[in-house]
């Protein structure tokens, strides 16, 4: 990767759009892979991003995923218009879910989304206003590729 070169962009996310769910994360994963970032880092970033994207699609009306890739780290911010989270600590508990039953039947809603995002990132921030929406920010550090 060239020093001091940044890559950034954004994706619009539509709530309830399960057909395209994951497409944004998948594309970001390709971008990261093409930048020769190590596969482990790419996987972590992809998982954190994907869970964030699914949360917007499952719970919110719409959202934006913004990404910034610097030589040192990958930053992804997910900002949505949605119900917001009344109790963030509760939402961060593994297994806690407010997803409706029909979402569970699609394989989602197991209550692992936010914990997965935190587990796969180096820095994790979440803010929410009930009735307005939620913002989640993850930062994944990029290690130096050791191969000559």
């Amino acid at each position: 990767m060239e020093a001091n070169k940044n890559t950034e962009g954004s994706f619009h996310l539509t709530g309830g759009d399960f057909t395209n769910a994951g497409a944004a994360s998948s594309e970001l994963k390709s971008i990261l892979t093409n930048l020769n970032i190590s596969p482990d880092i790419v996987r972590r970033a992809a998982i954190a991003t994907f869970e964030g994207e699914m949360n917007v699609i499952i719970h919110a009306v719409a959202g934006v995923m913004y990404y910034l890739i610097t030589p040192d780290c990958i930053k992804v911010v997910l900002n949505d218009m949605g119900p917001g989270i009344p109790d963030i600590q509760q939402a961060m508990r593994e297994g806690y879910s407010t997803a409706p039953d029909w979402v569970r039947e699609m394989g989602w809603g197991a209550g692992m989304g936010l914990p997965n995002m935190k587990k796969n990132s180096d820095e994790f921030r979440i803010d929410s206003v009930v009735g307005e929406g939620t913002t989640v920010e993850v930062i994944i550090k990029i290690k130096e590729d050791k191969t000559p």
């Binding site: 593994e94 879910s97 039953d101 569970r104 394989g107 197991a110």
Partner: protein, 111 residues
């Protein structure tokens, strides 16, 4: 083979008290989708799943399943255990993955 033997062989942690551990196990069904369990699981089977919410107790009762094993260190919700106790369904947990618990139970039930 009964539930107690399954619990002992797989080193499961039983979370309920009222379930009958002497109940015979007829087989095993693995699924995390409730509609799938409703359609395909059979009476007396052990149900292995990652789901922890109260609906699993209702489904297990409806299908008259032997017991529920929750894997991957997941913990059943309070409400889930309460419903299971009401229905006298045994709920046990394992720190191992579904693949491993299912694999071990397969070998166990075949002998």
């Amino acid at each position: 083979m009964n539930i107690r033997e399954v619990v002992d062989s797989l080193s499961l942690d039983v979370k309920t008290e009222k379930g009958d551990l002497g109940r015979t196990v007829t087989g095993c069904y693995i699924s995390d989708l409730l509609s799938d369990v409703m359609a395909n699981a059979k009476e007396g089977e052990v149900w292995i799943t990652l789901q922890t919410h109260p609906n699993i107790a209702a489904v297990a009762a409806l299908k008259n399943l032997a017991c529920i094993i929750i894997t991957n260190k997941r913990n059943p919700e309070e409400e889930t255990l309460k419903k299971a106790e009401d229905e006298r369904i045994t709920v046990a947990v394992s720190p191992l993955s579904t693949f491993e618990v299912g694999g071990m139970l397969y070998t166990l039930l075949r002998c």
